[in-house]
Symmetry: D2
Subunit: 405 residues, 4 copies
């Protein structure tokens, strides 16, 4: 190893160099090499594979990851083609899915086949807005009331302040919630093609400052957990966060039989007893079969924040009886996605977004992230269909015949 490297490693060991300071002393790749060597020596693990990467780390180590030592490789596969009939996504897509769970892609693939043959998933975005909710302390209940009144009377000026911090964001709504002396102000923004957390946080900070100054409210935390970010929460399932998307498909009795080896009554029974009644009894926020699996796999492939899988998991799956078949849908109330910023600029992730035709900013602001959301909802529908079908075919169908139900 290079003598220069050894000196730096030695400095790390003695504590004369801080682990995070290497990028200021070396090129990014060298900084990674030195840090990785140090960690390798400290832990006795080679880290050779983690050190073998093709990404441009100069971006990654400045924007995405501190104390970087390399990269983790997640297997990447494809499912599809999946036909999507949305307002932004129109066409057939190969889905990039990064996963380590065997059988997941095969399962999604079977769902894609059914959807595509049935004419394509019908998708719509019902709501779109990223939120942040600072919490303030009031001196008393009447003071809390004054704060709320002031905010409601000054929405216009707060909007101006908020929008002055961003080129793309528009404030859509500002909602106040009070618990005793705690005032939660949920600020909602449209954030174009970005997932938008940073944008909203910056704008919220300015709003919070103004509220504090004008009302005497004390800002306790820029996020008061009514946003709600990265925790399962009914507020997101009800009011939405990020994009609220539904995808649906009519499947004929013939297709159910041919592709899923089961029938309409069985699909409905599985969905009711598992996704509706079972989830209800479990006290769940999430009435689906395995939406999180599909969301996680696309999120990883496409550079989304994997902690947002939490909110994606609150999806609801329905199976309606319909003349000659069933109408199956999935609704994702809080899908948080972006095609710019975050991990979307990393090399492999950008390739995956490109496969879907939605890397970077859209022709009109927000069109790429909307397209991406429509595709994800359709992919989740494919996953739900396939698992419901498998459960139905494997177990219930035979019994149905036996019991004549």
């Amino acid at each position: 190893m290079d003598e220069n490297f050894r000196q730096h490693i030695s400095g790390l060991k003695k504590g004369t160099i801080k682990l995070h300071a290497l990028e200021s002393l070396l090129t990014p790749d060298d900084a990674l090499t030195v840090r990785r060597s140090f960690i390798s020596e400290e832990t006795g693990v080679s880290l050779e594979k983690a050190g073998s990467y093709s990404m441009d780390v100069s971006r990654a180590c400045s924007k995405n990851c501190e104390n970087m030592i390399g990269a983790v490789q997640i297997p990447l596969g494809v499912a599809g083609k999946l036909k999507v009939k949305g307002e932004y996504a129109e066409g057939e897509y190969y889905l990039p899915l990064a996963t380590t769970e065997g059988a997941l892609i095969a399962s999604v693939n079977r769902g894609c086949k059914a959807i595509t043959r049935a004419g394509g998933a019908e998708v719509r975005i019902f709501r779109d807005g990223m939120t942040r909710a600072p919490v303030f302390a009031a001196k008393s209940v009447p003071h809390a009331n004054e704060i709320v009144c002031w905010i409601e009377e000054n929405t216009g000026s707060l909007r101006e302040i908020a929008e002055s911090t961003t080129n793309h964001g528009k404030m859509k709504d500002i909602l106040c919630f009070v618990v005793g002396t705690s005032v939660y102000v949920r600020i909602e923004f449209s954030t174009g093609d970005a997932m938008g957390m940073n944008m909203v946080t910056i704008a919220s900070e300015r709003i919070a400052g103004e509220v504090a100054e004008k009302t005497g409210a004390v800002l306790v935390a820029l996020s008061g957990n009514m946003c709600t970010d990265k925790k399962p929460a009914a507020i997101n399932a009800i009011l939405g966060r990020g994009k609220t998307v539904s995808a649906g498909i009519f499947l004929s009795d013939d297709m159910i039989k041919e592709i899923f080896k089961t029938d309409a009554a069985t699909l409905m029974e599985v969905n009711t007893r598992k996704n509706l009644v079972g989830s209800a009894k479990a006290g769940a926020i999430g009435f689906n079969a395995h939406a999180a699996n599909v969301i996680a796999a696309i999120f990883l492939a496409c550079g989304q924040d994997p902690a947002h899988v939490v909110e994606g998991a609150n999806a609801m799956t329905t199976v309606d009886p319909s003349e000659g078949g069933v109408y199956v849908s999935v609704t994702l109330p809080s899908l948080q996605v972006g095609t710019v910023g975050g991990g979307t600029g990393l090399d492999t992730q950008r390739e995956c977004l490109s496969m879907l035709g939605c890397a970077g900013g859209g022709e009109t602001s927000g069109s790429n992230s909307s397209k991406f959301a429509e595709i994800i909802a359709s992919a989740v529908l494919a996953g739900e269909l396939s698992l419901l079908g498998a459960l139905g075919a494997g177990h219930l169908a035979r019994a149905h015949k036996q019991l004549g139900r």
Copy 2:
């Protein structure tokens, strides 16, 4: 490109070769090359970076990922050292964290510093058991009652049947829940160092068969969503799933001031108004600041299932007043981890597990996965501390002085 490859690509285009059939015709690496080339041509995206990987794909493409075309690279950094005082993890650890969210690792690092200087996180595992809950249809309410009675009277023989399917698993409990004619049977297993979903599913299938045969119950779905897998659910927050772990640390007033630039009263106020009251008002299952971030980053680094971040997100963070400082804790009711199986055998992931000294099976069955769980809980504690401190310092502290509270 190799002529042989072109022929296969041509076959894919004509449909004479199925996309998933390539591994049966070519070596794993060649199969990936052909599939990637085909997708590249279909989508017009180069996929060069995704095609640059160092992992051994023969394992990945057979066990982890169908229709594989390469790998996604996630930036990998480290935080620490973090001192842990558990029953399985004893020592100081560098944490491998795979993330694309700038500032996350820096934040965790600051928490690690505080914990380590304060003597190390005290960690305990309170419960350990993976669950699966098939749902059965009964003919009537009395029939549902008969089914439940039969199961409760035959727990012993059901245990024998279950344990005959596995070398490592032990059935810990079997709980019945009834909603009208739906009977949910939640089966809990200790699963050694494996996360254990497959093990439990196989055992549950055998149990389900026996129950159906002996009681006339109709198996509707092997998972009836009372497991609950990959959906946020109160049942997991209450009864636990996987490992239930708590980590705690006493921080003196001096250390709060020095590391976090704030004080005990402020930390408590932030935690109460944000993590307790704010989450409560949001209808959350998850009373924490950003547990999902830390869990996701370790899970990705160490080959865990990213969809299980959903259940990890139901953590609860507390800050107790204590003589001369505060006692801060985090409790993870449903942390699902393994050190064998799943993505843990992939090259980069195995290196990361090795950094923590818990790759593969432990000396005694379960000791490695328990050690891993203790480290994760401590890391989550570091993340919570750091974010609470930042919120407190940035905003609340000044106001506290102004208002004399």
Copy 3:
């Protein structure tokens, strides 16, 4: 017994007279006598006490209760005086409480004493609107989207239709929520001094008819459970239903010691570990000690719907540290009350409402029901204070001293 009565009883036994038809054949009191005698003979129970009532049954049997046989008597006591400083309620009140739970009134009384001596409960109403949410079936996801768009574009005309059905009601909001092909339209009304369910239901029926006609949506149920009426639901805890009210009080250290025999730190610890952390761990919608007890007792005394205790129970209680004492609050997000209609016109109930100075319609529409809501919130605060104090004094205080915490 009167021969005429015997003939009617005989008719009931033979089935020639229907049980519900008696009021069309006899005076109200006689109808009750005959029906009671019949039931008495059928069941072998005297029902003498149930037949001894002082209420004017002509109103009750036509508006409140079918197949009436008499009245149940619930013990009625008083607590207070309770000093209230609201926007509608200003003064000191004796609280009428109907209960069978020994010690409840004594407990509320102690809370009243503390509040009154501390200067009176500060109360504010943050939101006021009764809701109804019909559910419609759409043909597909795109159709659901069209329905929502139509409603959002036609809010003005829907408001006109809604308000044409009522003299007092004003439509405040109309929110659409979609799950696949189910469209929930949550209509919110201000309803003056009436609790307002009937008013909103009638208006909703008209709106629903219009929506169905114009969009092809199929009305499935006038209440689609997103109202949410008489079921615990996060939507009510978040968005409110009926009146959202908070009451708060500052208690000095001296008063805590004198009245509750405990101290500020203990009150905070009880509230945090019980009402916040305990409720969170239980998966509760309701972070209080016993709000339901106080609400039920006032509701019964004052002719409110006892099934609405369900929504009242989602209250949240907080105890903030404050210079020289604590600030204690309770927030009731969904308190559904009226001073006209329902059971408020019954004799004993009207007397109880009169005790609070809010029987019947207020001077300005809604002022009486608002006053009533403010008094209830203050009474709940009294109950919370008292129970927290008792828990703290009985158990924790001694231990605090022992452990020097």
Copy 4:
């Protein structure tokens, strides 16, 4: 008015006599008269009707109600007969219902008619145990772990201690839950024919004392809200509290048409879109139409605690397709009832319990409260059926025909 009375009233006004002291100076009836007169003069309300009661107040004023001034009269009606086929209730019953909500009894009555004609409600009790959950503070996470281990190792001796406090109660289970330094110990008792809260509380106090002494745990509150009493909570919906009861009935297509003027497909659609999907979207704990209405009306009639309607409201209603009709069920996970103690001994309430043949203690301990619970579940089923039928008939059926679905 009697001169003696005037003197006491005068004493009350001057403050020389405390309001609650009257019973120690006068007979119960006289105490009520004086107190009522005083309140009447203070408030300017006659309270004549509240003062007209037939109950034996000597019992009420000592056991049920402090500061008693009279009684509230709630209209009492009947529905039925309702045929019940349970393990404890076998036969046809007239249901006593105390309510002020017009149309409720008529609605329940229609449901009773359907159930009785269909052969009677099939009812079963799946679980029976009243709970109390003290919360303790531990010094640290490891201390919390020690406390839990000690409890789990000493269940036998804790049972002995618990059962020494009662003649009727048996400890069924003791479950520990930990959140950081808070340890919740949920103690479950079978309580015979009593609702059992007092019994369990007394036993819990003894257990808590022992735990504190032996482990150094600090008892913070005898109820730590994981009981969970009188707050809606997932833990009760999942694990049950009081009695867990299901009732079911098969309705043929003919009967659906004849009694409810609708059809099987419509009933299923209403239940799915309203009770399952609508409740899920609302973040509800409670997947029913109006269970709380029926429970409240029976509870009031029969002397139960009206605040327990909160937990009764978490019922779940299902409608299964079945050969030639539907199977409708309702499941009440946490029905808290007693036939001795509380308000059950009051005169009118005792008459109502007698109408059902379950006043007082049963022949075998618990048989009367079990019978009562079975009847209530059947009555709730009647209410659900009727409302689902009405919703279906009124709105959906016509549309179904129009759309040919």
